[in-house]
Subunit: 528 residues, 2 copies
């Protein structure tokens, strides 16, 4: 029997089997799953009343508030497309997204009223504006709670095409305009099932939403945590103390977050004041983690820590780094934490390969570096209204991640670098990150970046740009000797240049392209 | 990205992530998942060499042997349809199935050579015959291992339509000819994900295949246990001692079986000789279980026992009776085991309703009885080449199970009777089983059956046919008084008739239709 796959099933399931349970907590507000479901029905009906038609885009600009969690179901129930917007973007980027998505209704938290008032008048088509946690008036046409009260509490049963657009997330690349990742109902549904199989959440799980819900589908938790009847606790703004207080108060069992947040908790002076013993598992994503971080989290917090990897373009989870008994029973004990710090192995429904420039699989030796390509029903359909970007990313049925990695015999993948930062020397991929980590171990080095410079013989060679610690001294010769003790000869930086600081972008990322440029001056290509 | 859903993914996953692990054990034969995968590739290639075309049916007549587990993937990989046949059926039924399915290749265990030699010549089209565990010659065109050796070890990548037929299971109704349940790739894939979410198996799980793999898709274990990298242990023939020996030897963690098998283990005199402490969970299906059975299994074997419910027509799992913490935290302790003995609550992907004759939902009061109807992607497409039976079963998008049940506020369903055995008295559904259980408690009663008799005032009333224990005596009046103390007045049998034995069918089921007949003699209808 064919029934269109839809995440609405998860909410209905929670309302049926966990109806009296507090499903959502946001500050002092608490909603049972039955009440939550009714609120989503009201939202859906209210959107229809506002004139929203099937396929229309509905945008949200807010923190991790219960409104956005409601939108994950209410907007879909209205047959519309949910478009949560990254609140950290610049006003002109947000305006671009609203225009590009053609948003019909825009919900914004009252804190963003100045932003909306600034960009609203310049939009190509004026959307309906709804303020969250605020008062009607000003640019806002409606206030959220009043709008909900106006919507009927009865469920809608939209005729969904499972391959139609359900969610739209714009990614902010370091270059160019944001691109809209278009996800279908089927992709989101299958991602939820696969992520749940990978993570094994239970109804006892309490998740503190640290990952922004406007970010990569909230790592899928809005869907699969609802499906199994766990509890959502919203975290509006991150700071380590607030996080720890929430963990203690709500007996949070699982945290999904980026390494910097886990580091902030680890190094917080307030940590001993809080009881964090309810935590069962920490899932580290967003950027590579180290075995040291996994070790520190496990020993300091007494809970398992594993890495997960994914992209907005993949719903997002591609891999999880759970240890496998079939391996840990035979490998040395410390290897377990190293594995948990790796990029991981594919969840069900995702096929993953690591390939060289010709598309041939690299050796499964944890050494040869290639690009991660993925295929599966959890991979996006494409970039919204951008066939060119889609064709550049999905080639021959595989999504090219731009992440350079190794793969081992057990199928664990380990990201080594971004493809644009990799150094191709004598036909071999060299990870700039590996060299940076080695060089960063020198006591005089504050920070450093390694980029490719052209070389007539080898094509490219690594060169390092180093910032020394205040008062510290080191010569290029000393640093190269230091590297030689730790790296294969061809990975030792050919040159070392000293600077007072490294150029960085808005999110703190080093702008490697800018550092590369001088070495390539006068050459037509930037690949040698 | 759209990728056809296919169970082949599960085998590929096991071969990649658990390649060196012993995945399949059958007597002294053991296969790593890599070896298992290669054998399935060889089977697929060999089938193509035999001339099997996409969509052709390939039948298996065997016990729970590794060959059939290999067929679950190899036949699909060849683009063909797997048709495992119930070996307990009569020869003419098996011949009917082979003709109705139009089987192109028939694999049979050597023990069934006489059967094949008897029915083979009479088949409409002669299939290719392959003998398992035997020697070529006689009616067999090939021997399995030689056939496998002739097939290339390279994977095939069939272009599958996810909505095309993948498996075909014939059900043996008590009346009429067997009907073929047609399952698509998509149905099997989604059933596997949902069943795994419901059951939460891990790579550490070792399942002894007690449920015949020719029966209702082996309850899904061939697929989801492979997906998560657990271990399959084959049980060729059931007897309690063999089962316990296998549990101890292979450290089996989960058993799925029918109540009679669990009862046989519980009451085996050999039980104390075996260490069964590896068991983590027992899943009881096939027919209703009692809280007493759940209690006995949990206390005697020290492991959790829950009921599961499903039909061949639903891939098969519809519900599982796991306890929910949200309930057990608030309900009396003994209620937990009662819940675990219920029919259960729906797994993801399945919508379930309990409806009256008009299709209206019954009250969620655990009292009003209606028919279980289900909807979802795990429900069969229909009966193979039998649109009439399909239309009679799937109406308005819901599959009508013929099982009469109640539903409670928490969404737990409890089967009370088969619809054809229910007694409709003054507009109310009365469960014949409930009365039989009450009457069966009388010390003089060996067995009994309750059927509907016509009544001018109430439409139908219950009457009981009773077999007394040897030497025991009881009058109809005594037995009715006994029932009156235990049942509501309208459920007390109007008449009690004594017999020396009850008429039974081949599988031991009481033939209630035969018992009903005399009461309706002279009436046109059998519903009053």
């Amino acid at each position: 029997m064919f029934v269109p796959l839809s995440v609405l099933e998860f909410r209905d399931r929670a309302a049926t089997f966990f109806g009296d349970k507090i499903g959502v907590v946001d500050g002092e507000a608490e909603f049972t799953y039955r009440a939550f479901a009714t609120r989503t029905h009201r939202l859906a009906n209210a959107l229809i009343e506002l004139g929203v038609k099937p396929g229309d885009r509905v945008s949200f600009i807010t923190f991790n508030t219960h409104h956005l969690l409601e939108a994950y179901y209410g907007v879909i129930e209205a047959g519309a497309v949910l478009n949560p917007i990254n609140i950290r973007l610049a006003p002109h980027e947000i305006a671009y997204i609203l225009d590009h998505a053609g948003s019909r209704v825009v919900f914004f938290h009252r804190d963003f009223a100045p932003l909306i008032e600034a960009i609203g008048p310049g939009l190509a088509t004026r959307p309906t504006f709804v303020v969250l946690d605020g008062e009607p008036g000003g640019i806002a046409d409606h206030e959220y709670e009043a709008l909900l009260a106006s919507g009927a509490p009865d469920p809608l049963h939209p005729e969904l095409d499972e391959n139609a657009l359900a969610e739209l997330f714009y990614t902010s690349g370091t270059t160019g305009l944001p691109k809209g990742v278009a996800m279908t109902h089927r992709e989101l549904y299958l991602h939820s099932l696969a992520a749940q199989i990978g993570l094994g959440f239970t109804e006892d799980d309490v998740v503190l939403h640290v990952v922004p819900l406007f970010h990569v589908n909230g790592w899928g938790t809005p869907h699969f945590l609802t499906m199994i009847g766990g509890r959502h606790v919203m975290l509006r703004r991150f700071d380590p103390t607030a996080l720890m207080a929430m963990v203690e108060r709500h007996q949070v069992t699982r945290l999904l977050a980026v390494p910097t947040i886990f580091n902030a908790v680890l190094h917080s002076r307030e940590r001993s004041r809080y009881d964090l013993s309810s935590l069962r598992q920490l899932i580290i994503g967003g950027s590579p983690a180290s075995p040291d971080l996994v070790r520190a989290l496990e020993s300091e917090l007494g809970t398992q820590a594993i890495v997960g990897y994914g992209l907005t373009e993949t719903s997002p989870i591609i891999t999880l780094a759970q240890p496998r008994r079939v391996l840990t029973d035979h490998e040395p004990a410390e290897r377990r934490q190293e594995r948990q710090a790796m990029t991981g192995w594919a969840i069900p429904g995702v096929a993953i390969r690591v390939v060289d420039a010709d598309g041939t699989d690299v050796r499964s030796d944890a050494d040869q570096i290639g690009e991660i390509v993925v295929r599966g029903n959890t991979v996006m359909d494409g970039y919204y209204r951008d066939p060119e970007a889609t064709e550049a990313t999905i080639r021959d049925g595989w999504l090219h991640t731009g992440d350079m990695a190794t793969i081992d015999e057990a199928g664990y993948v380990m990201i080594k670098d971004r493809s644009k930062d990799i150094i191709i020397s004598a036909g071999e991929n060299i990870s700039s990150v590996e060299i940076e980590v080695a060089l960063g171990g020198h006591p005089a080095v504050l920070e450093n970046a390694v980029v490719a410079a052209p070389d007539d013989k080898r094509g490219e060679v690594p060169v390092a740009i180093v910032v020394l610690k205040p008062e510290a001294t080191a010569t290029a010769k000393e640093l190269r000797a230091y590297c030689r003790e730790r790296l294969a000869a061809h990975k030792v930086p050919r040159e070392i240049h000293f600077r007072d600081a490294l150029p960085k972008g808005g999110t703190g990322k080093v702008l490697k392209a800018e550092l590369r440029e001088p070495f390539w001056a006068g050459l037509d290509s930037r690949v040698h």
